[in-house]
């Protein structure tokens, strides 16, 4: 054990020195430790190799080549390029009985109203990424990562293809078949498993095993004298996910059975179609493994990737006798919901813990999923939170849901540093603390040492989508954990950073359907509306004169927007709603709140005052509206809120939109019959806000949310004490705004806000108060990708080389 520690400490140093990305689900630290001794020119070369290999796994290497099967006058609308003519893929005679289409780029379109749809949905969420899930037709996309995830939960490419064929209306394009087969060949065949503190390379395919053993690089890594072992696949039978095991709660147990039954039914669907004996499966059930030397894990993992067999990492925690167990269990009263269970069952599918990402909407109980995973593994846990505030919430949630002794939970954040006493425990820290490379105080240095010197059973990564890839690499490289679980509400897609995530943490294991959860009452039903506020000529003239930065102030201070806000507050307070008003502009926040005489919170608000205001909002009947700046986007938990009004927002950030919506998804009253939460986005007409607004909504729209446009409120002029009702008042306001812009005092407030965000360790916004670079998400359409390209800074070396490689190939082609 001592020697092992030494090796990993070396790795820590290495990973700090090198900024090389390490795609591959293997533990990166070990790869780097091997290469830190190599010649300096090597990493570049290695990146090229990896880039080539990764590219071989992308569908763009398998172009769709069929020419249109129908040529008529409509063909001109589907010329190559972005347009896709798939008329060559003939329909099956009984296509009415099948619910699915496929295109030559891996896109699947599902008739959600088809009787078979629920079953197909289950299957598709396993093998593909959902990209659009409104009412009637859903779209999914097969990607390298989704197939990786599918294979890692035990589906083989043959099953995937056959099952797809079973559900498809049209013929499957040969290139997609080739692509799936190709991915399947590579993915999930090889696993590196840490068992009884010995590393094994494991595979179900004897041929692969032989190939690996004969490989000049991997062969020598094998521990001599150790026998090649063949075991049967362990199943989930012996394992119950925490929370489902509680015999006291029979209903939960029944649900597990239901779940298992459902799973097996799904499998039946796609195995029944195969009409083949299980002989082959029996053969595959045997696992072959050989032990490798601890120090060589990196070499093996990297070589596996080079051989196009990226190795999955699984944690056989039940057979881990080295790391101390943690006394933790879910409280008997704690119940987990079916979809949380479904996600977790993907993680613990074969009795071991797989690393990966679970995607749940805000308010759907991501924390409980994390807590349950911790209770299942029962080893030391590291939680990485996005801010100090959320770190404290994580601690509270652990205490609330599980039986853990609160003394065994440590917090390491900029304003709290505590250690746990026992030999195992939970430590909650923030990304920025864990990666802060600046000079540390003695206390912090000790904490970091503590974090890095241990071997953790589980690493919980909260809000994985906002963390810059560099930070990730550093966290994952320096803190050693056997299993990693990423949690997020809005997983970015089509974004380079996501590639990093998938390779660094693991495949996406589960993604919930927002609309479904809302229909089942797990999250609140929300009515979304975009309110168009006309701008008076006077304001508009000033708006046109102003520079881009100042324009936003005119947008938010638009008197008719103010009136709309006042009207909505009035209306919803009378209905008995609790309202949060969001404003990114601190000046506007203050101006609105003061004029309407409601409390407001922003980065500059003192801690005591903040607590007081929050308590007031939560408990008092006389305080029903709260104005919040960006600091409230994420961490504040206010389940009392039932109505949201957004008066200014961060450019076209879909993530912010989704995150803010998340504030009301967990509304306490959501289970009331016919309850609706409300989300209003106020935009000034004919300004940039209109453009941004539609971009912001794209993600939620693809989840099935419909945004109603409101252009006029009836009887708004009858609102009592309506502000800025006279031209004089409006003129005065305009002069004030102009004076404000000239005095620039508002910038100080913004700076205070930014400073507060920074001090909080909040990752959602960069030091300048703008969204951090990863914040603009791409959900697969072109416009989004354009934004990503424009806004994101330089990419990692690895992806730069990948791009170079791609461009070079394009030129050659």
């Amino acid at each position: 054990m001592a020697s092992k520690r030494k090796a990993t400490q070396g790795a820590v140093k290495a990973s700090r020195m090198s900024r090389i990305s390490t795609p591959g689900s293997v533990t990166p630290r070990r790869i780097e430790s091997d290469y830190s001794h190599g010649p300096s020119g090597l990493p570049d070369q290695r990146n090229t190799i990896i880039a080539q290999n990764v590219q071989k796994l992308d569908i763009s290497s398998f172009p769709y080549m069929l020419s249109p099967g129908i040529i008529d006058s409509a063909s001109e609308y589907f010329q190559p390029g972005q347009k896709r003519d798939l008329t060559a893929l003939k329909l099956k005679p009984d296509h009415h009985n099948r619910p699915l289409w496929i295109d030559g780029w891996g896109k699947l379109t599902l008739e959600n109203f088809h009787p078979l749809a629920p079953r197909v949905q289950d299957f598709l969420t396993t093998i593909a990424e959902p990209t659009s899930r409104p009412a009637f037709l859903h779209e999914y996309r097969l990607t390298t990562h989704s197939l990786y995830a599918a294979v890692s939960v035990g589906l083989n490419p043959k099953d995937i293809i056959r099952t797809l064929k079973l559900f498809l209306k049209n013929e499957m394009p040969p290139n997609v078949i080739a692509y799936i087969t190709h991915c399947g060949k590579s993915y999930g065949k090889v696993k590196i498993v840490l068992k009884s503190n010995k590393y094994f390379v494991e595979t179900a395919d004897p041929a692969v095993l032989q190939m690996l053993l004969k490989d000049p690089e991997i062969g020598p890594c094998r521990v001599q004298n150790a026998e090649e072992i063949t075991t049967s696949v362990s199943t989930m039978a012996g394992l119950a996910i925490a929370g489902t095991k509680d015999a006291a709660d029979m209903r939960v147990a029944e649900r597990v059975e239901d779940q298992v039954e459902r799973n097996s039914r799904v499998e039946e669907v796609y195995y029944a179609a195969l009409g083949e004996d299980d002989d082959e499966d029996d053969v595959q059930d045997a696992l072959h493994a050989f032990q490798i030397e601890d120090e060589k894990v990196g070499t093996v993992a990297q070589r596996c990737l080079a051989l196009l067999y990226p190795a999955l990492q699984e944690y056989d925690f039940r057979n881990d006798y080295i790391n101390a167990n943690l006394e933790i269990d879910l409280r008997p009263a704690t119940q987990i919901r079916p979809y949380q269970e479904q996600g977790l069952s993907k993680m613990f599918g074969n009795g071991r813990a797989k690393s990966g990402i679970i995607v749940l909407p805000c308010g759907a109980g991501k924390t409980l999923v994390g807590v349950t995973a911790a209770c299942t593994i029962k080893k030391g846990v590291v939680v990485l939170a996005t801010s100090n505030m959320s770190a404290i919430q994580w601690k509270n949630e652990f205490v609330k849901w599980s039986s853990i002794n609160p003394d065994n939970i440590a917090i390491f954040s900029s304003d709290c540093k505590s250690l746990f006493t026992g030999n195992s425990g939970i430590i909650i820290t923030t990304y920025s603390m864990a990666t802060n490379s600046r000079e540390r105080a003695h206390e912090s240095a000790n904490m970091i040492k503590f974090l890095q010197s241990r071997e953790w059973g589980l690493m919980l990564l909260d809000e994985v989508h906002v963390v810059p890839a560099e930070m990730f690499r550093s966290v994952i490289g320096t803190i050693k954990s056997h299993a990693k679980l990423g949690l997020t509400a809005t997983l970015l897609r089509e974004d380079d950073k996501i590639e990093d995530l998938n390779f660094l943490i693991g495949p996406k294991l589960y993604e919930a359907n927002w609309m479904e959860l809302s229909q089942q009452g797990h999250i609140a039903t929300v009515q979304c509306a975009e309110v168009w506020c006309p701008m008076s000529t006077e304001f508009y003239e000033e708006y046109m004169k102003a520079n881009a930065r100042n324009r936003s102030l005119f947008c938010v201070m638009n008197p008719s927007k103010f009136q709309a806000c006042q009207y909505l507050i009035n209306y919803h307070e009378n209905r008995g709603d609790k309202i949060i008003v969001f404003s990114d502009s601190v000046y506007a926040l203050e101006a609105y709140a003061r004029k309407l005489m409601r409390p407001y919170l922003y980065g500059g608000t003192g801690n005591a005052e903040r607590q007081e205001i929050l308590d007031l909002f939560r408990n008092s009947q006389h305080c029903n509206t709260l104005f919040l700046s960006k600091i409230g986007d994420t961490s504040l938990d206010l389940p009392e809120a039932t109505c949201l009004i957004q008066i200014s927002s961060q450019y076209g950030s879909r993530r912010q939109e989704a995150q803010r919506l998340g504030r009301i998804l967990r509304a306490k009253r959501r289970s009331e019959e016919g309850f609706n939460a409300f989300f209003y986005s106020l935009v000034s007409k004919d300004t940039v806000e209109m453009v941004f607004s539609s971009r912001r909504q794209a993600f939620l729209a693809d989840q099935g949310y419909a945004f109603k446009v409101i252009t006029h409120f009836k009887n708004i002029e009858k609102t009592p004490d309506l502000a800025f009702a006279t031209p004089e008042a409006r003129h005065e306001l305009l002069q004030k705004v102009i004076a404000e812009l000239e005095s620039k005092s508002w910038k100080q407030e913004e700076e205070r806000e930014s400073a507060a965000l920074l001090a909080d360790g909040n990752l959602f916004y960069g030091p300048d108060g703008k969204p951090s670079r990863t914040a603009v998400s791409g959900a697969g359409d072109r416009s989004a990708k354009k934004i990503v390209k424009r806004k994101s800074g330089p990419h990692s070396d690895f992806f730069r080389s990948l791009r170079r490689e791609n461009e070079r190939r394009k030129k050659l082609a």
Binding site: Y77, K83, P134, F136, V709
Partner: protein
């Protein structure tokens, strides 16, 4: 009442009474007008009066109708009068009374009881056709011709493609004269009227086109003579060659076609020269089939035989034909529009795809489905060509997929609102009528007058640089100009 009958009414009502008299001499016309154009109540009146020997006193007729349906009664009576079917007999000794007008009464009696030698229901050929064709062939022919026309309208080239025939110069000219398309350079652009036309059911479309034909028969037929020549030259020649096509002949022929039997071949012998000439054009529309121009026989297609069916029968027949037009598509509805503006259409018809492409951005085509999305840009583009948001919404609603019809309302309200808003967004121009004063010789004169206009409060806009100003009224300024002291001149 369907759009088609409205359209034909408008035309018919504009005709002078003498034309009606001549029209009603043909029993087929009388029957067709009776069947196609009249609401049920009007039909009852006609039937009741048809064999009535004496005029019926107004008071008696009014008693037939319940007092609470007076509005319908008045409408029916007024329509009958406008179509010159019913007239009021004024006799000093007796009260005002209604009677059917004479040629109509006789012709309708003849049509119902048979007899006479008017031959207005066509004369079937008495010799078998060596190149006989069946109903399927006729349907295919009609479909190809008609789809070709619609294709041309939505701007698909249609050349050498299946499902669309090359459209004749005459038809092209007719579409342009009817304001259904605009020729911009070498491009054909559909107009707002054209898009409304596309959204109509096929029978209404046929009528609309035929009315245009009636109004422009000369120029269209004329096109034929020059079809091999340069189209620009032939246009110039239209006014020169006035072909004397008698509208009564044309109308009678159309009404006759409606009474013919599908699949039967008819002889040309009883046709007037105008009617024979028309056959060429009707063949372009797909209304009749003639193997070649010199052939002595013609076949009416389904487009012809359903021309004057009564409303009920028409709907089913045209639905059947629509089905054929849609070539296997779901006749009930095929479009799904989602709240995230994605649009999916279960269709393989190039025509329907072309219509969708007018207002959406299509991206993917499967053998039985196309997918795309509507966006601000795609809707704005459609609106620029003159299509209205309401037309798009009505198209989406009419053709909504059965799954969508389970919802109330059928279309997602957010999408409907948004389409409207996209249109309104572009309609913020406010027009002010008035007069522009320009070309002032001296700055002094300009200043003087512009200032005066301002003083009297009629000035809307002025540009000192360009010496122009715009006023709402000019009378005062004109008076001012007249009255001002003539200086040096």
């Amino acid at each position: 009442m369907s759009t088609s009958s409205l359209r034909s009414f408008e035309y018919l009502e504009s005709l002078p009474g003498t034309v009606f008299k001549r029209l009603y001499r043909q029993p087929s016309t009388a029957l067709a007008i009776f069947r196609r154009m009249l609401p049920h109540l009007a039909k009852s009146f006609v039937m009741a009066l048809l064999y009535h020997s004496h005029p019926l006193p107004v008071a008696d007729l009014e008693q037939w109708v319940r007092p609470d349906s007076r509005r319908e009664r008045d409408q029916a009576l007024s329509l009958l009068e406008r179509l010159h079917i019913l007239s009021i007999v004024l006799n000093p000794n007796s009260p005002r009374a209604y009677a059917l007008t004479n040629p109509f009464k006789q012709s309708l009696r003849l049509a119902l009881t048979g007899g006479g030698d008017h031959q207005s229901f066509g004369v079937p050929c008495d010799t078998p056709d060596k190149h006989s064709v069946d109903v399927d062939f006729l349907d295919d022919f009609a479909r190809a011709q008609w789809e070709g026309i619609l294709h041309y309208m939505v701007g698909s080239t249609g050349i050498g493609m299946q499902g669309g025939e090359e459209v004749s110069q005459g038809v092209k000219k007719l579409l342009e004269l009817g304001g259904l398309v605009e020729i911009k350079g070498r491009r054909v652009e559909i107009t707002q009227a054209g898009f409304s036309f596309l959204l109509q059911e096929i029978n209404a479309q046929v009528w609309t086109l035929l009315i245009f034909y009636l109004e422009n028969a000369e120029s269209v037929s004329d096109m034929r003579r020059f079809r091999t020549l340069d189209p620009f030259r032939s246009q110039a020649n239209i006014s020169v060659c006035q072909l004397n096509m008698d509208p009564v002949d044309v109308l009678s022929f159309l009404f006759m076609l409606g009474s013919l039997e599908l699949g039967q071949d008819y002889s040309l012998t009883t046709l007037t020269p105008t009617q024979v000439k028309m056959l060429d054009d009707l063949r372009d529309f797909g209304i009749v089939y003639q193997r070649k121009s010199s052939s002595r026989r013609f076949y009416p297609t389904r487009l012809a035989t359903t021309l004057t069916s009564d409303a009920g029968a028409l709907r089913t027949v045209s639905a059947g034909f629509d089905n054929a037009l849609r070539a296997g598509g779901d006749s009930k509805g095929f479009i799904v529009i989602e709240t995230n503006y994605r649009i999916y259409a279960y269709t393989s018809s190039p025509l329907q795809i072309a219509v969708l492409a007018l207002f959406s951005r299509l991206s993917t085509r499967y053998p039985n489905m196309v997918a795309g999305r509507i966006s601000r840009e795609s809707i704005r583009r459609a609106i620029q060509t003159g299509i209205t948001s309401d037309q798009i919404i009505s198209y989406l609603g009419t053709h909504a997929h059965p799954q969508m019809r389970k919802n109330v309302p059928v279309l997602p309200p957010t999408v409907v609102d948004q389409i409207r808003l996209w249109q309104i967004e572009g309609e913020r121009m406010k027009a002010t009528g008035g007069f522009l004063f320009k070309d002032f010789v001296t700055a002094e004169e300009y200043d003087n007058l512009a200032n005066y206009a301002d003083e009297v409060g009629v000035l809307v806009w002025r540009s000192d640089k360009r010496r122009m100003f715009f006023v709402t009224r000019h009378e005062q300024i004109a008076a001012y100009l007249r009255n001002r002291p003539k200086k040096l001149t």
